[in-house]
């Protein structure tokens, strides 16, 4: 008899417990079930990355045309420390290339500032005319396992009345500093398609100049795209150094040109995007740097 009562008590308690549990669950379901809207997952917040920067860049404000200006900066690593180790040697891919173009691609300045203490780079530059200029710092660091080459950019404003000049149309024959340049007829240039362009160079008296190495190559082909100012460059190599421009891991260096005889240049072209590109063909002639600019329409 006693046992029966005890059992009943247990059963009663169990029933109460079950009801309480069911009520709690129902309350939770009511409170939460109606509120949920099934959208996508929230993406995490990503902290800003540590980047390479140009530190202590001067000039910090606009400059006047026709006067020498000191352009100076250090390349700062993502750690904030200055980059002091650069590739050295005679090849084209060493040190720092400072390339400055006016936004309309009417002017180009190409210099090689020496690496000073604490990685400081200084170069005296004279801007020829007013307008906005793009400063391209083409860096070849010596970081084991790091990137072999990268570019950093800045702008400098040169005071005065800027009259942008439209790019001249493609012209095969150019005369620069007394030298004659003649680009051979070629089929249309397409983006992401390698092509070779042949240029004949003659001296003021019709002689075929012998090209001499300048920064590791017989000639440099520097390309800038109109508007976006995308940059790309290739090298024209001596026959005994056919791959002078090829740099492992750098896509832009996969193509090189050659010069097998005096007065003749074969330029490798492999441009990444279609558009109007300005080719600045640079070489050392008679002890001076001569730049022959060509306009190329690159089709898709």
């Amino acid at each position: 008899m006693k046992l029966r009562e005890k059992e009943k008590l247990v059963i009663k308690r169990t029933q109460r417990f079950t009801w309480a549990l069911a009520a709690t669950l129902a309350a939770i379901a009511l409170l939460t079930g109606c509120g949920g809207a099934g959208s996508g997952l929230t993406v995490p917040t990503v902290a800003p990355a540590k980047v390479y920067t140009l530190g202590g860049f001067t000039p910090s404000s606009s400059v006047a045309p026709g006067h020498p200006v000191t352009v100076s900066f250090t390349v700062l690593l993502p750690s904030g420390k200055p980059l002091t180790q650069y590739k050295t040697g005679t090849g084209p891919h060493t040190g720092v290339h400072l390339i400055i173009v006016r936004d309309d691609l009417a002017y180009i300045i190409h210099q090689h500032p020496p690496v000073g203490p604490n990685g400081l780079l200084r170069q005296t530059v004279t801007f020829p005319a007013p307008g906005p200029y793009k400063v391209l710092v083409d860096v070849y660091p010596n970081i084991p396992g790091g990137q072999a080459n990268f570019q950093l950019f800045r702008s400098i404003d040169v005071t005065g009345n800027y009259k942008p000049q439209p790019l001249p149309a493609y012209k095969a024959n150019l005369t620069i500093d007394g030298y004659h340049f003649d680009m051979a007829a070629h089929s249309a240039v397409h983006a992401i398609q390698a092509q070779f362009l042949n240029v004949e160079v003659r001296g003021p008296h019709g002689e075929k100049p012998t090209f001499v190495p300048w920064f590791g190559a017989l000639a440099h082909a520097i390309f800038f795209r109109q508007g976006s100012l995308d940059y790309f460059h290739t090298h024209i190599c001596a026959p005994n150094a056919p791959n002078c421009g090829v740099l492992p891991g750098v896509a832009s260096s996969r193509i090189s040109g050659t010069s097998t005889e005096p007065g003749k240049l074969t330029i490798g072209v492999l441009l990444p995007v279609p558009g109007t590109w300005r080719l600045f063909l640079q070489m050392k002639l008679g002890g001076r740097i001569v730049t022959a600019p060509y306009t190329l329409e690159v089709k898709s």
Partner: protein
């Protein structure tokens, strides 16, 4: 008529239990096999979207693909969706006309087996993206072992095992007590089964809710969003199957208990059918955890599944039996306690002993199958959980031996010397309470163990490594097979493009023109081996940049070198990569 209805009901329950006995099984961890854009690539034009292809159809509703620029701005414009062309590919749309520069892709997905996986890589929009920045890869929950998940998983196992074990005890071991000892009632056991079954039926969906919330990074109370996701992964479906099988067990068990007349020695046909149905459903319930977990992914699969099932079944009989013993101790009237225990304990202790032997043997069997090397036992979390579990099992067996050697013989002797009975019964209660506590702790260790990924076969590689390096930049020189080998890894960060190089010299001279391949194996997670051909970038220096260290942890880097003149050789180093 009534008998027929009962029989039909019981038959239906049996058939349903049999139908559910083999739930769908799951695959291995998801592994990223292809990305568009490719890792570390410089594109000439911004991509319209990001496409990630896995080796299995991961669920877009559980996936995150974050695309950020160097400043950390999010560039995605919509939710992740499945590619219409390929079910294994996830797609996320991007803001049009992304500017030049580098972008970080961070992704997190849930494997079909319920384990979160994540990774990161970069790409650049060019043509002049500038130097690759050092991105800070975010870290979000990529674990199945949060406290909430472990506790709910543990509660689920305990209630399910107790319910099944109590049922087995009630129907097969304790039933005859009513006839042999006066004044004994089995109702408390029946109530215990009902209670455990009710709590189990609640605990399974609660665990599923916690697990789905963890996978989809939502609050566990966001039921409106979570419920539609319950059946999305194979793991979720397996837990739903578990609930169904367990509900079926509860139903069949209720029918069997309702029909049972323990005062009669013979059982009715209807009761037998219902009991068999309940036991089949219980068998189905106990196969689900193995089929949804690691047991189903480890070869030989049939054997590991059988081990897992036997392990759980014998564990259930043991745990449920101990709980039942305590229930009887407390509910049997004082004057019948000693006679009841004297009759019951000898019967039960044989079953318990058998269960413990099976638990131990199958546990050792599973450990052998899952452990690629002995040192994995103390060098991996999975191995440590096995050791803890084995240690607790040892403690439980020690306590059990106290019962076997002291309480049991004294209770048997009490049939002739009644004064021995009461102290023996008290000793039994104390020891069994302790044993129940330890077994419940063992179940917790099992919940931890089954939440962790077992060490992969590649773990055994570690023992043949020539050097152990990292974290951080690696410059390690080793002498092997007559060559000086210098291994360079920079920056040696997980989920980032790293550069790998091997400088080979012999007698101080660079070894040129060799064929060098580099193989990557993660030592802690099961992943396919990645293989890269290194190119000679300088005399005797073979290098390659690759985002191969897709996860934090220890990696086996195997260099396969075939020199131009000389026999080929391999060099293995173990590298720790941090995030």
């Amino acid at each position: 008529m009534r008998g027929r209805t009962r029989t039909a009901l019981a038959l239906a329950a049996t058939a349903m239990a049999a139908g559910l006995a083999l739930p769908a099984t799951a695959g291995a961890h998801a592994y990223l096999v292809k990305t568009v854009p490719a890792a570390s690539v410089v594109l000439n034009a911004p991509p319209p979207n990001i496409q990630l292809t896995y080796d299995e159809a991961v669920e877009p509703r559980f996936a995150i693909i974050s695309v950020t620029d160097a400043d950390g701005h999010q560039e995605t414009t919509g939710p992740v969706h499945r590619s219409p062309a390929d079910p294994d590919t996830l797609v996320v749309p991007l803001r049009p006309n992304l500017s030049e520069g580098w972008y970080l892709i961070y992704w997190r997905a849930i494997s079909v087996d319920g384990h979160p996986v994540n990774g990161a890589f970069t790409y650049a929009v060019g043509p002049n993206p500038g130097p690759a920045p050092q991105f800070q890869v975010p870290s979000i929950s990529a674990t199945a072992t949060t406290p909430g998940l472990l506790i709910t998983r543990w509660a689920m196992f305990v209630f399910v095992m107790v319910a099944i074990g109590l049922f087995v005890l009630r129907m097969l071991i304790a039933r005859s007590l009513v006839r042999t000892v006066d004044g004994v009632s089995l109702k408390p056991l029946t109530i215990g089964i009902g209670l455990a079954a009710a709590l189990g039926l609640i605990a399974i969906p609660v665990y599923l809710d916690f697990s789905t919330a963890n996978d989809s990074l939502r609050s566990v109370f966001d039921l409106g969003a979570l419920v539609p996701l319950y059946r999305v992964t194979a793991f979720g479906r397996a837990i739903v199957d578990l609930e169904l099988c367990f509900a079926l067990f509860s139903l069949a068990a209720a029918v069997a208990l309702w029909l049972d007349r323990p005062d009669r020695e013979r059982r009715s046909v209807a009761e037998l059918v219902a009991s068999v149905g309940a036991l089949l459903a219980a068998a189905a319930v106990l196969i689900v955890p193995g089929a949804a977990g690691h047991a189903a992914q480890t070869s030989p699969r049939g054997l590991t599944l059988l081990f897992d099932w036997l392990h759980l079944a014998s564990g259930s009989v043991w745990l449920g039996g101990l709980v039942g013993l305590l229930v009887l101790w407390w509910t049997v009237p004082f004057q019948t306690r000693v006679p009841a225990l004297s009759a019951f304990v000898p019967r039960f202790s044989n079953v318990a002993l058998g269960s413990v032997v099976v638990v131990g043997a199958t546990g050792i069997g599973e450990a052998i199958v899952h452990m690629p090397a002995v040192n994995a036992l103390w060098e991996t979390g999975y191995g440590e959980a096995i050791l803890v579990k084995a240690g607790l099992l040892g403690v439980a067996m020690l306590i059990a031996s106290g019962n076997l050697l002291r309480s049991r013989p004294r209770l048997i002797a009490a049939q002739r010397q009644p004064e021995l009975g009461e102290p023996a019964a008290r000793l039994l209660r104390g020891l069994v309470s302790g044993e129940v506590a330890v077994v419940i702790a063992i179940v917790f260790a099992a919940a931890v163990l089954s939440s962790l990924a077992p060490p992969p076969p590649a773990f055994a590689l570690e023992n043949s490594a020539l050097a152990k390096v990292g974290p951080g930049r690696v410059v390690e020189t080793i002498t092997h097979a007559g060559y000086q080998l210098q291994v360079l890894v920079s920056p040696n960060k997980a989920a980032a493009p790293d550069s790998f190089a091997l400088r080979i010299t012999k007698g101080g001279r660079p070894v040129r023109g060799a064929n060098v391949t580099l193989l990557f194996n993660h030592l802690e997670m099961q992943m396919p081996t990645q293989e890269y051909q290194l190119t000679e970038s300088a005399p005797g220096v073979y290098s390659r940049a690759a985002p191969a260290l897709v996860m934090v942890g220890r990696w086996g880097l195997t260099f396969q070198v075939t020199p131009k003149n000389g026999p080929p050789f391999t060099a293995l180093i173990v590298d720790q990569a941090n995030g």
